[in-house]
């Protein structure tokens, strides 16, 4: 997101306060690039300066994020039939949805505050895979509460240094995304090896015949 857009968003937040802040977090949860984590840290710092009341901001922010997540889950649910029509017969898709159903809470909970870059895809997949909405909202609310308190708390704690903190948090999240990708690659590789075990006897025969 460019600096000028960020500047405009920050000016509007300090002018209009909690309702606009809630709206930004809702848009962020829908995938609009408003820099929700950045604004959340900034609002934490503004609250530390006494410009906003932090319980009010936390409440509006949490509500906005939850509404946004519920809507993006709904978008996934809305596209479910289309996805099933196209991929429903594919074993890979069935495996993926089964796996998601078993481990969904991990993905929903941790993508709220740890690997936030994957939050929206998780919402869409949860909706599209037929995951139960109340369960989704339960793990979502837990994760989002941690997100609001943790990120807002960092802004509150570091006050005027919030811009540096925001950069650190963003880089940390992206580094975690990289780690998740590496683990996904290793897991996929191990599964692949599992379905194609090394035929050591054949390998030995090949080596001996070359000699």
């Amino acid at each position: 997101m460019s600096d000028s857009i960020t500047d405009i968003l920050l000016t509007q937040v300090i002018n209009h306060g909690a309702p606009l802040f809630g709206l930004y977090l809702m848009l962020g949860a829908l995938g609009v690039p408003v820099g929700a984590s950045f604004i959340l840290i900034a609002v934490g710092a503004f609250s530390q300066q006494g410009y906003f009341s932090w319980p009010e901001m936390a409440l509006y922010g949490l509500l906005g994020a939850l509404v946004g997540d519920a809507l993006s889950f709904g978008i996934g649910r809305f596209g479910k039939d289309e996805v099933n029509r196209r991929l429903g017969q594919s074993p890979a898709w069935k495996n993926a949805t089964d796996y998601f159903q078993r481990k969904a809470w991990v993905a929903i909970f941790f993508t709220r505050f740890l690997v936030t870059a994957l939050a929206i895809p998780t919402n869409l997949i949860a909706g599209g895979s037929g995951y139960q909405f109340p369960r989704f909202m339960w793990y979502d609310a837990l994760g989002e509460t941690i997100w609001v308190l943790l990120y807002g708390g960092l802004g509150y704690l570091f006050g005027s240094q919030w811009e540096i903190v925001s950069q650190i948090v963003s880089d940390f999240g992206l580094m975690l995304l990289g780690i998740v990708l590496i683990f996904a690659g290793i897991r996929l590789g191990m599964r692949w090896l599992g379905s194609h075990p090394l035929d050591t006897e054949k390998l030995l025969r090949n080596v001996q015949s070359r000699r």
């Binding site: 500047d7 704690l157 692949w192």
Partner: protein, 126 residues
């Protein structure tokens, strides 16, 4: 073959991201100071922290300077400029002089804080 490609891509991409942002993160953490002791509602005195997106009421609150003092320093009417950022004030009142509004506000704050040290109660949010 296709699976090998995906495994390689995921691990390779992940490693690049980890290295890139890991180094950046390490560098930022090295240059960052310890968190200041939390002082709720403390007035800031460092005027270099004023940014383009800040409005006069926000600066006034943060630095403990009445908005009237800042509007007088900018020599602009208070009423219609309440919600404008420093960048917007520059564009409207000081075209071609980027950062001029911030400079005027910084000077006014320093002058005000020299006369009245920032121990006074904070300016309420408008």
């Amino acid at each position: 073959m296709k699976k090998k490609f995906w495994v390689g891509l995921l691990i390779g991409l992940g490693a690049v991201i980890v290295l890139l942002f890991g180094f950046r993160l390490a560098n930022e953490l090295r240059h960052m100071g310890r968190p200041p002791k939390p002082q709720p509602f403390a007035i800031i005195t460092d005027v270099t922290l004023i940014r383009d997106w800040m409005t006069v009421p926000y600066i006034s609150h943060t630095y403990g300077v009445p908005p009237r003092v800042l509007f007088e320093a900018l020599d602009i009417p208070e009423k219609e400029n309440h919600e404008k950022s420093m960048a917007e004030i520059d564009a409207q009142y000081f075209p071609g002089q980027e950062g001029h509004a911030i400079q005027l506000v910084q000077a006014a704050i320093q002058k005000f804080q020299e006369q009245a040290p920032p121990n006074a109660p904070t300016i309420p949010v408008p």
